[in-house]
Subunit: 287 residues, 2 copies
């Protein structure tokens, strides 16, 4: 495939799952009408960001994959000839839940799901209470328009995750995300956080010569202010599309010839020392 | 150790090894007078960047480690109570040469050398002709003032190298460098290259919660224009000191309490999935 137009649906949360599903379907249809063929939703898009607190009642929001949301969006994918990346709070079995993302091909076929591998746990981001870490590794999905990988939010801080995706042939990594700051945080600190968040993801594009697309939530919820700032980076780390804090569909054309051109001119992939990276498999190397 | 002032000696090349040694010693003494306790020189600082061409006569510039340059700079280190990072074209034996960096402690003791692991080969950067890839892995040196790692130029594009250093306890990674652009290159392209170079190195600081210091050559040599732009990043990717293209000593104070504070607040090290990073050891994962 030569190129594809992608879209990131950056919205604030409506009240309940039904309202969020409806809101996001409207945006998907708009994005598809405007030419987007791969469309990514935010992390846990069906609900407000409930891991702000630890409350067992929130497990009621979980569903199976495939399940009702995949079913509903399969129809939307088919009708719009669009690949959809659909983050879902997944109930795998009684007592095992994941922070996942389903991938639906442009013909409506469910291609599989990625289960978030790196689970954060910080004040107001109590994800370890809700989500078991994924146990099926990093994945690539062959969609009609591109080979894509989906990683979720906290995964974005780990170069090994992006590398694993790229080595499986991913052309674009999508990062459905829900990152924001406490309302008590100072603006200067927040600016530094957004900068670090942007740098680490652009670096995955540079290191691997691939497109990177971060789709973040926006708006205020309880004690958190989500950043928005969804963006797409080209294979050399240049931002080719971006939002700020408003609700927005971010569009970008990913021309895959740039992957090859970048990797030919900056041949990092050629020179990796795969014989010498064993330290990366360690937690820490004690003296 | 609580903190240390470091210095990066960004200079253009003088004509021969003797002149470059003298020039750099003068700069080291100035940096030490101004309080720097760890001082880093540029990649292959004794010569112009000879890998612009493939010419076997250039092997005459190689020397052993330790050898005359380490001997001369051990004295300088001791007299100035400064740790020195000394890049050297190393002759290991007949026909095996490395692009290396010696580390000399503040008492003049030779602590060991790092041999560049990732060797580039691009037009005007024909390093594969001269240098065998290092075979002793990524290293940490316990100096009087800090645990440091030295990686060299092309190494900077590989997150695995920085990770391996951080997992061995490095507090600062130094990148002696000789990167520039062909005189034929368009300014817009060069700006993109400098941006990518900066992003990838700042990302190592972010991913690992450590200080990163890039010491680049400056000035025009033959068909190349070296960028300068030496900089120091704090553990959250913020640039705390930087040069542009002029000859300059870049100073920065690295406060190691920031490493712990950053890692406590953004605990990536806690959540690494060391059970799932095996793909990183592959060249490519064919379908």
């Amino acid at each position: 495939m030569g190129q594809v137009k992608i879209a990131l649906i950056q919205v604030s949360a409506a009240k309940g799952p039904a309202a969020n599903l409806k809101k996001n379907i409207t945006k998907i249809e708009e994005a598809a009408r405007k030419g987007a063929r791969i469309i990514c939703l935010e992390e846990l898009f069906l609900t407000p960001y409930f891991p702000q607190t630890e409350n067992a009642k929130n497990f009621r929001f979980a569903e199976t994959i495939p399940g009702p949301t995949v079913q509903a969006l399969s129809k939307v994918a088919r009708e719009n000839a669009a690949v959809l990346i659909v983050p879902i709070f997944e109930k795998r079995t009684r007592g095992i839940y994941h922070n996942s993302a389903a991938v639906i091909d442009a013909d409506g076929r469910f291609l599989g799901a990625y289960r978030k591998m790196h689970i954060p746990d910080d004040p107001q981001f109590f994800e370890k209470f809700y989500f078991s870490p994924g146990d099926s590794g990093f994945k690539v999905f062959k969609t009609r328009y591109a080979k894509i990988s989906v990683l979720i939010c906290w995964d974005q801080w780990f170069p090994e995750a992006a590398r694993s995706a790229a080595l499986q042939g991913a052309e674009i990594i999508f990062y459905p995300t829900a990152i924001g700051h406490s309302l008590k945080e100072k603006p200067k600190v927040v600016a530094g956080q957004i900068s670090a968040w942007e740098i680490i993801q652009r670096s995955h594009a540079v290191a691997n010569g691939i497109f990177v697309a971060a789709c973040n939530r926006t708006g205020k919820e309880g004690g958190l202010n989500f950043w928005g700032n969804s963006f797409v980076s080209d294979p050399f780390g240049k931002i080719i599309a971006r939002a700020r804090t408003k609700e927005q569909i971010v569009f970008a054309v990913c021309d895959f010839s740039e992957i090859e051109m970048t990797r030919q001119n900056w041949p990092f992939m050629r020179d990796r020392r795969v014989d010498a990276y064993q330290p990366v498999l360690e937690r820490f190397i004690d003296e």
